[in-house]
């Protein structure tokens, strides 16, 4: 198991799998299968995948500990960046087709409509995380500050679910399913934090220097 996780090929395969949703959307666009309201279809599809990748990113830390597979950390950055990537697609569809590059309209939406306010905030919060996702930035920021900064992903996760919940008109089943997943992932962290009073073992993040007192942002 460990050797599979360590293999560079595994990383390449995971990378390609993460691109499948985009490939499917492009295929559907070229075959005219984006429904009768293509913009809404693209908005929903890219929004869904953003939330799913945020959830997948948040799965890494629990799975590392529960399955005792510290090597899983190799995939966290990639999944997080894919969450940001699909978030960018989501925002681009809104910018291009929904607002047709009307920056005033976007600003009005952000200020006026709470579901857009919260969704946009969650998206913007991912920008510094993406920018500081490199090993060099971790070194520059220092592990402790980097860790605190990257806890912002929890806010993005919550904001994303609220964005979806406030968006739907009356059928709240799907947003509640996402809420349950995120609550489980965040709840595990609270549980983990309070059940292991002594600090957990140093994380296996591939960073050269780090103090043993740091906690991975999980």
């Amino acid at each position: 198991m460990n050797s599979i996780l360590k293999s560079k090929w595994t990383k390449a395969v995971v990378f390609l799998i993460c691109l499948v949703p985009l490939g499917v959307l492009i295929w559907e666009a070229f075959t005219g299968n984006l429904s009768s309201n293509p913009t809404q279809f693209l908005e929903h599809a890219t929004g869904d995948w953003t939330l799913r990748f945020v959830a997948l990113t948040l799965c890494i830390s629990p799975l590392r500990k529960i399955l005792n597979q510290p090597q899983l950390i190799r995939f966290r950055k990639m999944l997080g960046l894919f969450a940001f990537f699909y978030g960018c697609c989501h925002f681009s569809v809104y910018l291009t087709f929904d607002q047709v590059f009307d920056l005033h309209g976007i600003w009005a939406d952000v200020m006026k409509r709470r579901y857009i306010t919260v969704g946009f905030s969650g998206f913007v919060l991912m920008i510094p995380l993406a920018v500081t996702s490199t090993a060099g930035m971790i070194r520059r920021l220092g592990n402790r500050r980097w860790t605190i900064l990257h806890r912002a992903i929890y806010i993005t996760a919550i904001a994303g679910v609220i964005h979806f919940y406030w968006l739907v008109k009356s059928d709240i089943h799907l947003p509640l399913e996402y809420a349950a997943v995120m609550a489980t992932l965040l709840g595990w962290r609270i549980y983990d934090h309070y059940t292991k009073a002594p600090k957990p073992a140093p994380s296996n993040r591939p960073v050269a220097k780090q103090s043993t007192t740091t906690v991975a942002p999980d």
Partner: protein, 321 residues
């Protein structure tokens, strides 16, 4: 013991030598042909979208109407596969799939309340109350998308006059069919059912207000509100109740489904109004389906202001949204 010596192969079963020799190429070729066939089918689907799966009856001898717009009619595929009909599921594609087996015959509509001659109409009677007209109306959804639909029907006032509303009749309440057995997804709708809607009497009696029995020259598909529905072109789509079973003339403003669900977002009037924002969507622009860009400016009263603006003289349309 006789052993029958039948040959194990016929000559034609033997693989030709060049196919055998080039068997890898042959397999690639098969794969390529399969891929091309798939691509070709996808291409054909684009050119000629799959046939509609619902049964409908052609409606002949339709009169044209001066109320019709000359704008380009939306593709029928769009109007029949992109529906808000929450009884059959909340995804836009759900009703087309889940309403296939919806039983719409026999069907009766009870017209009652503050009227001199309350009456139940069979669908056959409704079809013959007046000559059927084709009316091409713009249809604007509160979700900021729009379509142009060639409806078939006649003015609602036709049926209203037959039951002779009395002076107490100040509003009309509409009720849609509801049956948990036929609509198993009802529990996910998140709205109270049966679906109810309402109009003020003068709105209901306006000649633009249509009792719709068909579209695209045929009876209504189930997902579009078969067998009979309301069409009020200057109001957001949800005001036009589908699959009507009851029409009741009443004294007081009747409750309406989306207003019950969220009074802050959906008013009783719900006239198309680009200046009154919905909390979730700006109403200034719309996307004309199946287009991509939301850049068609929304018109006051959906462009029917010349006919209906006088109904609201002196009313604050921001307050009475």
């Amino acid at each position: 013991m006789l052993l029958k010596q039948s040959p194990e192969f016929k000559y034609s079963d033997i693989t030709p030598r060049d196919v055998y020799v080039n068997r890898r190429k042959f397999l690639y070729g098969m794969g390529l042909a399969g891929g091309l066939a798939l691509a070709g089918k996808a291409l054909l689907d684009v050119v000629n979208p799959s046939a509609r799966a619902y049964a409908s009856t052609k409606l002949g001898g339709l009169a044209s109407s001066p109320f019709s717009t000359t704008e380009k009619v939306s593709p029928e595929q769009v109007v029949t596969t992109y529906n808000n009909f929450y009884e059959f599921g909340t995804d836009k594609a759900d009703p087309a799939k889940n309403a296939q087996k919806f039983v719409t015959s026999p069907w009766t509509v009870s017209v009652e309340g503050e009227v001199g001659k309350p009456r139940k109409f069979s669908m056959e009677e409704i079809m013959k109350l007046a000559p059927l007209e084709e009316r091409i109306y713009r249809h604007r959804c509160v979700e900021a998308w729009s379509i142009v639909v060639p409806w078939v029907g006649y003015s609602f006032s036709t049926i209203a006059k037959l039951v002779e509303p009395n002076s107490n009749a100040r509003y009309v309440a509409f009720e849609s069919y509801f049956d948990k057995k036929q609509m198993p997804l009802w529990g996910r709708a998140g709205i109270d059912l049966p679906y109810v809607e309402g109009l003020r009497m003068d709105e209901a009696m306006h000649p633009l207000t249509l009792l719709g029995m068909g579209m695209y020259g045929e009876t209504l598909p189930n997902q579009d509100g078969a067998p009979v529905r309301m069409v009020i072109p200057w109001k957001y789509g949800f005001k036009s109740a589908k699959s009507l079973v009851k029409i009741k003339f009443v004294k007081d403003q009747p409750p309406t489904t989306w207003n019950i669900t969220n009074a802050h977002e959906y008013g009783f009037y719900s006239n198309v109004n680009p200046k009154v924002d919905h909390p979730r969507w700006s109403q200034a622009k719309e996307v004309r389906l199946p287009g991509f860009f939301k850049n068609t400016p929304t018109q006051m009263f959906n462009g029917y202001g010349d006919q209906v603006a006088s109904l609201y003289n002196g009313m604050d349309l921001k307050k009475n949204f």
